[in-house]
């Protein structure tokens, strides 16, 4: 679905990726994990074409529609949750009545139907994250990129977010999930990529992290044990 070939990226003297090759297949939940500064968000930004300053190729299979939920969703505080979604729909050129109808559907989809008329400024962190996911679903995207959707959420918030991601997975969406919460990743991901630095990263799948926890995999990879380069 999305192929990344020989991708290299630097920020000044710091090398983020060195000849990175990876692939995101359709209908799966991919997790991107790794320490801060490993390039997970940068990779998302490159897929979204917001960062074009790199060497190599990002190849899309056909005309893919992308959705994105930022780590800290910034929404106009003076609008209600439903109005936020309507706003983005109208930006896309949808008429007022259709956007109202569709935004109600999406609020329902992410479990915010009871809070649809509450101002965003009164939303909790978890509700904002769910609204962020709802926003990423506008336009029925083929691939949804979720940047730290569970960051700052309490246990129940994390559970709700896991439920939501699993629900989207059930609908056949391809999800690229950037997360620091390894327990969270184990609950929803089919596979993923662990980034340590520009030269050290590995692919993992569900079978592997069912045998060895992601935390152990992380530590071992960082030490250079079990290192499996895809380059």
């Amino acid at each position: 679905m999305i192929k990344i070939k020989n991708l290299s990226k630097r920020f000044g003297s710091k090398e983020i990726f060195h000849n990175l090759n990876l692939e995101f297949e359709a209908g799966k939940v991919f997790a991107l994990i790794g320490p801060n500064g490993a390039g997970k968000t940068t990779l998302m930004r490159m897929v979204l074409a917001w960062d074009r300053d790199y060497e190599g190729e990002i190849i899309f299979n056909g005309n893919l529609r992308l959705g994105y939920s930022p780590e800290t969703p910034y929404f106009p505080e003076i609008l209600t949750g439903r109005q936020v979604l309507s706003f983005f729909m109208e930006v896309r050129g949808m008429d007022k009545n259709t956007s109202k109808r569709e935004s109600l559907k999406l609020m329902d989809e992410v479990g915010l139907d009871l809070k649809k008329d509450t101002l965003v400024k009164n939303y909790s962190k978890g509700m904002r994250q769910r609204l962020g996911v709802a926003q990423s679903l506008i336009g029925n995207p083929d691939v949804i990129l979720l940047d730290e959707p569970s960051a700052g959420l309490d246990f129940f918030g994390q559970q709700e977010m896991q439920g939501l991601i699993n629900k989207l997975k059930g609908q056949g969406k391809t999800i690229i999930l950037n997360s620091h919460l390894l327990y969270d990743v184990e609950k929803v991901a089919d596979c993923g990529y662990l980034f340590i630095n520009a030269h050290t990263f590995r692919h993992f799948n569900k079978r592997e992290f069912e045998k060895e926890s992601l935390a152990d995999m992380f530590i071992n990879t960082a030490k250079g044990v079990n290192y499996e380069s895809l380059n």
């Binding site: 917001w50 930022p70 983005f88 930006v91 506008i138």
Partner: protein, 256 residues
């Protein structure tokens, strides 16, 4: 673009500032109403013309300052927010976002100007000013467009300069622009090379006094100088073009 303009209007149309401007405009109109009556000796017609002429001039200057306040930082703020990328992902390119905000700023400034002039409208009816509906409408539109133009210039500056610098430049622009012809005349009559250069440089400032003269001539039904109208229309068109090109420049700089 329409959705973002609507949101910008909603975010910036705060009831408090509207009430404040309504009171400010009311006070200003009442002060000038009483002040004007002693300015011209025993000629009621001259008195009224002087009163309303001064009112339009003062309202225009205060509206200019309001436009600077409304427009001086919103584009800089928008560019710092993560909203730009998300809007781009939903199909609204950065140049169109910035252009929408500039138009939104102009509309908010014009609404504030209209509120500022609210008491003036009552005074016009009460004092039976020497105008008619057509003259008043023409004058009112010109007055609003002048404020809108100031706002557009300030927005264009804010695409490249920080808000504090834009605020100072904006105030400077309104003051110089409101006395454009007097200051330009002073420079050009100076006769020296520097005077001539500064006199020519004055053409870079918006001739707000010419716009104000047009407002007054329309209001007093004395409009007979098409040149002021042409200068006015050319200036609006040029400002819109500059804002459009500046938006494109911002998009190129930010690479979104």
């Amino acid at each position: 673009m329409k959705a973002l303009i609507k949101l910008h209007l909603k975010e910036n149309s705060k009831g408090r500032s509207f009430i404040l401007f309504g009171i400010l405009g009311g006070l200003l109109s009442l002060i000038l109403l009483t002040g004007g009556s002693i300015s011209v000796d025993n000629n009621p017609t001259e008195e009224i013309i002087s009163q309303f002429g001064t009112q339009w001039k003062f309202l225009s200057i205060i509206s200019g300052f309001a436009a600077v306040t409304v427009s001086m930082g919103s584009i800089e703020r928008h560019l710092k927010e993560k909203r730009t990328e998300l809007l781009a992902l939903h199909g609204l390119s950065l140049d169109r976002q910035v252009f929408s905000l500039a138009i939104g700023n102009a509309l908010v400034s014009m609404i504030l100007s209209a509120i500022l002039a609210l008491v003036l409208v009552f005074i016009i009816i009460f004092k039976q000013a020497p105008t008619n509906l057509l003259g008043f409408t023409g004058a009112f539109i010109t007055y609003l467009m002048t404020t809108g133009t100031v706002s557009l210039i300030v927005s264009a500056l804010n695409m490249f300069l920080p808000s504090i610098v834009v605020a100072v430049l904006g105030v400077f622009l309104v003051i110089i622009g409101s006395f454009h012809q007097i200051i330009q005349g002073m420079f050009l009559n100076n006769g020296q090379l520097m005077g001539r250069i500064l006199g020519k440089a004055m053409n870079l400032f918006p001739p707000l006094d010419v716009f104000n003269r047009l407002t007054r001539s329309l209001f007093f039904l004395e409009f007979n100088d098409g040149q002021d109208l042409i200068v006015f229309l050319i200036f609006i068109w040029s400002t819109m073009t500059i804002v459009y090109l500046a938006s494109k420049g911002v998009s190129r700089r930010e690479k979104i």
